[in-house]
Point group: C3
Chain length 161, copies 3
Amino acid sequence: MTQSADARFLEQAQLLGYSFDGEIKIGGNYVPLVRDGHHFYVSGQIPRVGNTVVVTGAVGVEVSLVDAQKAAKVCVMRGLALLQRALGSLGHIQSVPRITVYVQSASTFTQQSEVADGASEVLFQVLGPQAGAHSRTSVGVLQLPKNAAVEIDLIASIWSN
Amino acid sequence: MTQSADARFLEQAQLLGYSFDGEIKIGGNYVPLVRDGHHFYVSGQIPRVGNTVVVTGAVGVEVSLVDAQKAAKVCVMRGLALLQRALGSLGHIQSVPRITVYVQSASTFTQQSEVADGASEVLFQVLGPQAGAHSRTSVGVLQLPKNAAVEIDLIASIWSN
Amino acid sequence: MTQSADARFLEQAQLLGYSFDGEIKIGGNYVPLVRDGHHFYVSGQIPRVGNTVVVTGAVGVEVSLVDAQKAAKVCVMRGLALLQRALGSLGHIQSVPRITVYVQSASTFTQQSEVADGASEVLFQVLGPQAGAHSRTSVGVLQLPKNAAVEIDLIASIWSN
């Protein structure tokens, strides 16, 4: 990859058809990310662009797998946007030790891993195969804030020099 | 804030009408918190005071938002009580990189963030705006141990000197 | 305990009646574990042995508590198998700061902690009371990938010398 992570981030945003330039709004009395030494803990992100949650409802009934994957991509892009603002550039990210993917699921929907693949794809595309390699947990929950279809949190580590 | 974190902890306990002086009971074959270098991982806390889980049931149907927020406060107070015993004083806490808030939700209840605001308020009140700043993930689950309305786990970091 | 952690791992595998010698398959576009300094983040493990998820369905209705505990044991054994391959020996593990146990639950099933005790027992049996001591969060979710009854992720820390 000859492009920078920041250029690839912009490319992914264009592919999704959303801009992540505006305020990354969060819905409560906490902070969007916390620095802890060389780690950043990013709060749970729902697929909100501006004031709109762009994918809502239970996956498997109201939401298709493809739309749920798009929701997962938007969640991760929001997380990356927050990291980019905190760090100046996504090039400072060394690794993403963990992402947790919560999928609002119909009771018979068992493709949470496939939904999470949307998130994983963005991490690999933007950060590359080294920094973008991540461990992952995907589960199917009953509901999410604002009826979001997907919510994702993550931990990123940065280079120490 | 001129009071110490420990004094503010006591004040919050009095506001809630509960004492956290007794044993902090846990329900299984594990430990309530693990020290890992300068971090403490606190096990998932349900709103148990003594032997009683004080808020049970699904939020949105059996449990009101206000009661769920109170449950979230009790969960965090239990976590802080455990940290206070391990550390001697809550003044040693540098930050709370992550809390995860699991809300036993009715299928149409989408205010998990508002429930979690109860937990966030306690952290800010007791630890202050610096150490109490935390990243947060809130999700709506189908059930929780002992029919608890809320369960919260957290990671705290301590000052290294 | 005079046996090594690796010998005790083999013993637990024999008690469960499963071999963890083969490939530890994962179901998506991510990595099974990520090293982060002295920590390893292990991705969410379902009770898959080879190509088969050995315990599926909702605990409390389709799956008994005993079978769910067995599922939890298989999840942790998979995690330990991954760590053993990455480290050469389980003797390098210093502690397990966190495990999170997701139980696919019937809406009235509230013994998620008891399910998780299966996982905790394996950690204590294999790693011993020091390295096996862990913090734990157990929740009841609506669904899990591939209809698994249980999913568990964990963080392990290793000795720094």
